[in-house]
Symmetry: C2
């Protein structure tokens, strides 16, 4: 086997972290299959997610480890985790606690559609964009 196919057929977890020490993580709803969010994990976030079965991420903007739902209560219970062929991406199927995964108040972060088969300026369209929870009630309750 080539070096690549050894990685692709291996049963050893060997995440291919990028220059910042991160892999991409895709979270989908374990029930509906809906794509909820895309985020990143460093080695510590990955380890904690595997050990606890609850989603931990690494925030690139805050340069900090965070547990999903630690401030909102919207924890993600991981039902299944998978890695992709070259192990630079992780897929978690989650039971999303609370109303939604997106910090804007929506169930999913992907609430705007891009019209296809056109040239020039693109106007987005809201889709499934109703807010599932009131931001103030969740984040300003202290």
């Amino acid at each position: 086997m080539s070096a690549n196919s050894e990685i692709e057929e291996s049963l050893v977890l060997a995440p291919k972290f990028d220059a910042d020490g991160l892999v991409t993580c895709i979270a989908t709803d374990a029930g509906s299959g809906e794509l909820l969010m895309v985020a990143h994990m460093n080695a510590e976030a990955l380890r904690r997610t595997i050990e606890t079965g609850e989603a931990w991420y690494f925030s690139r903007s805050r340069k900090a480890l965070w547990k999903k739902g630690e401030s909102s209560g919207h924890i993600q219970r991981v039902v299944e985790m998978r890695v992709d062929c070259d192990q630079d991406a992780v897929w978690i199927k989650v039971e999303q606690q609370g109303a939604g995964a997106c910090h804007t108040g929506r169930r999913s972060c992907f609430y705007r559609a891009v019209p296809l088969r056109q040239t020039g300026a693109v106007a987005l369209e809201f889709r499934d964009a109703e807010k599932a929870f009131d931001l103030r009630a969740v984040y300003d309750r202290k």
Copy 2:
């Protein structure tokens, strides 16, 4: 509105490319909802995907634009495209032509599961890992 909420509620397509000029792209099967692959798009790949309705990506390893299926015939017809709240990720729902999205011969790149709620060394488990097509028949046919 804050600068962030202006971006989040805007209907202007304004992708937030990273230092390498890329956004993350998640491709799911438009029929089953299954996660097929995670890849990247630069501005040109994004433009071509929007204009043609077929998936174009940018290969980080080959540093080159590529059309999905250009060598395998396994083109992805895009049924819907969405962007996430901060526009650094794109989700495409595709009709996968041919047998699969993964270059290893599988339908999806995510054919190995990571056991959860355990500590120490992790052994992956094949899941949905049967090969959907014969690599030699697809890539060595010239």
